[in-house]
């Protein structure tokens, strides 16, 4: 998997759910005052990441705050 493919999954999801801020960037917080994902939307994103990339950071016990942290999770997995 590539970082671009993972980023596309996240951005497509945010676009579909009408949650993509116009100024979205990889360091933007995904929750609260950032993108504003709630718990169910986050659950949906985790399921989507698992479906498309075989695993997801949330199911591994971490709570990534940004797209950058999601990308880092997969990058770390690729190096392991």
């Amino acid at each position: 998997m590539t970082a671009a493919a993972i980023e596309k999954t996240v951005v497509d999801f945010l676009t579909r759910t009408k949650k993509l801020p116009t100024d979205f960037h990889v360091e933007m917080n995904l929750y609260a005052d950032g993108v504003g994902l709630d718990s169910l939307e986050t659950a949906e994103l985790s399921a989507l990441l698992e479906d498309e990339h075989g695993e997801d950071p949330y199911s591994s016990g971490t709570m990534p705050q940004t797209l950058a942290e999601i990308l880092a999770f997969y990058a770390a997995g690729a190096q392991a």
Partner: protein, 450 residues
């Protein structure tokens, strides 16, 4: 149960009892049953399991068991390792099977051939206690052994009228309680059982056409698959006189679809369960049960009540208890596990209590969502279930089989659109297009983590 066969065999022995690749008449069925009864009694068998599924083998073995008061148990069509576990769990000392792959199991085994070939020498009196063991399908966990007695089971078909011209499709396995119900109904009516193998919708549709099936009873899931097969192969629509549905909550749109396809057929519903037996049928073509069943008299064979949103039943045709557990009051009230609402003059089924999806503490019924998804253009079949999730414990998930030629991405979007107005917790958070839907015992499996 052998008395049902004997009654027809004595007056119309050459009538077709079972049609598979071959025909077994009532006279031949009785001869096999009596031979097997004599052979089992001669070997001192009081309990045995059956690992075969051909109707012409299983029926006479069940009839033989009922004649001598031996407890029979038909095992599911599973691999040797699974059957070995079941034989151990239910302490079965004897196995009747013609399967070569079961030769290594550590159990006393007899072939049907040696039992059916024995000289028949039994009386026509039946044993005072005539136990029968039915294994649950295990859709909500490990199978349990449900203890019945033939005298109580037969009470459920005592009002069946003779109908020698009816030809019933066997769409259930004979290890299932629903298969047993069809069997008893057919024998009580002196009708003919058409039993294709395997008992999948494709083979069922072929058997309907080839063997002129007039009556068919199956789960809503089976009927959905059969309608999909019918659409796919474009062949002739079988001329059914009666369609019966049971085993799962029945969506109203499916009833309409069946009526539109099988225009000559009467559509009825049965409500039955391994534990509480048969409760009769509803023939008004509407989903659910008439609320009038709640007003049945105290001495009715089957009475209903609703308690805290769940349907309860008191049945005089139901089980005696579970294998390995203390006996229950056979005529007492039992929770069915079916969640219902009273809607005007109707008891409407909302799903199984065990199917409820707990989304972050919010209870979601999968069935209404599944009905929405199934109605989406491009969806051939669908199941809604709870998918484990680290954030909320469980999320509502959809698996759908797309119709041929449908664009999977468009179908996924259409499913999401169809569910967009649902409450947040009930909205599907995982939508996948799959090649097939998981079923067990002809029913969609909705429990979490399948």
């Amino acid at each position: 149960m052998i008395e049902l066969i004997r009654r027809v065999a004595e007056s119309a022995g050459d009538r077709e009892a079972i049609v598979t690749g071959q025909v077994t008449t009532y006279a031949a069925l009785l001869a096999r049953s009596e031979a097997a009864a004599a052979a089992l009694a001669g070997r001192g068998v009081t309990r045995f399991a059956i690992a075969d599924h051909e109707a012409e083998v299983v029926l006479p073995l069940l009839a033989a068991a009922s004649a001598i008061g031996a407890e029979a148990c038909v095992l599911p069509p599973d691999p040797p390792a699974v059957l070995a576990e079941l034989l151990g769990r239910f302490e079965q000392p004897v196995l009747v099977t013609d399967r070569a792959d079961l030769a290594d199991l550590e159990v006393t085994a007899y072939s049907s051939t040696e039992l059916f070939g024995a000289p028949a020498a039994i009386g026509t009196e039946t044993a005072p206690a005539r136990p029968h063991l039915v294994l649950t399908t295990g859709t909500t966990g490990a199978p349990r052994g449900v203890r019945h007695d033939w005298a109580r089971l037969l009470r459920g078909v005592r009002r069946v009228q003779p109908a020698p011209d009816e030809r019933w499709l066997l769409a259930y396995g004979l290890h299932q309680f629903a298969g047993l119900q069809i069997l008893l109904h057919v024998l009580a009516a002196g009708a003919t059982l058409v039993a294709p193998a395997p008992r999948r919708p494709r083979e069922g549709l072929a058997a309907m056409r080839e063997h002129h099936v007039s009556h068919a009873s199956a789960t809503p899931t089976y009927w959905r698959f059969l309608l999909a097969e019918l659409t796919s192969d474009g062949g002739a629509v079988p001329q059914l006189q009666q369609i019966t549905l049971g085993g799962e909550a029945i969506p109203g749109p499916l009833l309409a679809q069946l009526r539109g396809t099988f225009t000559q057929a009467r559509v009825s519903q049965v409500y039955a369960g391994s534990e509480f037996g048969s409760t009769g049928s509803t023939r008004d073509g509407r989903a659910g049960l008439p609320a009038s069943v709640l007003n049945r008299p105290e001495d009715a064979d089957v009475a209903f009540r609703i308690d805290d949103g769940e349907l309860w039943i008191r049945s005089r045709t139901g089980m005696l208890g579970y294998y390995g557990e203390p006996p229950v009051d056979p005529d007492g009230w039992r929770a069915t596990g079916d969640l219902v609402d009273l809607d005007g003059d109707r008891i409407v089924f909302r799903g199984r209590a065990s199917d409820i999806i707990n989304v972050g503490g919010v209870k979601v019924h999968p069935l209404p969502i599944e009905e929405r998804v199934a109605a989406v253009s491009g969806v051939a079949l669908a199941r809604v279930y709870g998918r484990p999730n680290a954030m909320t414990g469980t999320i509502v998930a959809v698996e759908a089989v797309a119709t041929p030629g449908a664009d999977p991405d468009l179908v996924k979007n259409a499913i999401r659109d169809a569910c967009a107005d649902l409450p947040d917790a009930a909205r599907p958070r995982s939508v996948r297009i799959v090649d097939e839907i998981t079923t067990a015992g002809g029913k969609i499996v909705r429990r979490t983590d399948v």
